[in-house]
Subunit: 189 residues, 2 copies
Amino acid sequence: MALRHAVLAALLDGELSGYELAKAFDLGVANFWHARPQQVYAELTRLEGDGFVAGREVVQEGRPNKRLFRVTDAGLAQLQSFTAAAAKPSFIRDDLLVQVQAADHVDTGALIERLTERAAVAREKAGLFTRLLGTMRGERTEEEFLRDGGRVGPYLTCQRGLAFEEGNREWCEHVIAVLRDRARTRPDD
Amino acid sequence: MALRHAVLAALLDGELSGYELAKAFDLGVANFWHARPQQVYAELTRLEGDGFVAGREVVQEGRPNKRLFRVTDAGLAQLQSFTAAAAKPSFIRDDLLVQVQAADHVDTGALIERLTERAAVAREKAGLFTRLLGTMRGERTEEEFLRDGGRVGPYLTCQRGLAFEEGNREWCEHVIAVLRDRARTRPDD
DNA sequence: CATGACTAGTCACTTCCATGACTATCATGG
DNA sequence: CCATGATAGTCATGGAAGTGACTAGTCATG
């Protein structure tokens, strides 16, 4: 039941089309949650059925019509009661960690490749988040924005995303260094 | 299909009973993956059926018999081919982030409670991981252990877990400070 | 001596999430 | 002129994960 609330939370700041939402959740630009387009569309349908969002058809020329969604009062109430309840603990759940856990029993070269790929992805994402933060705060310094800015929710979650990706990158590089060093100092093992 | 490999990876360093495994995955002590006991037992049954793990009954007195599992050669091969393949990108997926995303539209007090709870959990987990790391490296320094130690896989994943939980705690405290400051400087908004 | 916590699991049910395939139209580039 | 990529979605299916309930014996605590 969290995708529901993630969609509601993403819709809080202005109307979005299903397509925009779906893209944001797919790329993880809505960095606080991830979902495939099909899931997002399905969830929007359900949310509309429950009266938590309202959609309106927008006729476009030169491209398919779209539907813009906004959160209803009932939807906002729903989101508020969600926030009042305890958040489930979050766990890392990552293929790459499983692979590193097995590091001593598998091919080091392949593992270093995986780590290098991940480090690159993390760097890209961190860059994206950094730009996003810059866009949100505009001319202001971070401190000013967090004190006086209109909506800080998205900014704060983006900061978490940034820190997470930087943590990922640093850890990947650290593991690569360790594995390389071991390969050098104890070649056959 | 990742729980499979997580279980295999957890079993690499010595035999474990289903119960021990299940507990580790439930508490997240196997900090690189999380799963409920029922999932773990079910997965063990499947893995045994596929010949990737082998179980042996151990008769105990004073308590129920247990089954100890170890990874077979086929299981190791399976895990190696898993590690050779690209890891899926990982996404944060966290109720608390959804709640913070909605921060500007919900009750600040309740949100600060959630953040405080989470910060406490994160601190506990970080402490646990720190102790675990200490146990693994024993008398050696971290540098020595990572260079000369026998199995570094579990150590490295534990380091990631530690960094993640510290990141969580810092972020929670940061968000709390921001929200408190805003509540003070712009009370009705 | 009853209550709850620990060991060691199993069964059933539901909901969530992932994946692939499919329909359209329009704009852009080679 | 054809391929691609973006816009804007829908449908179907399977696998993964979450939830609750249940068995059954042992040990410690009040």
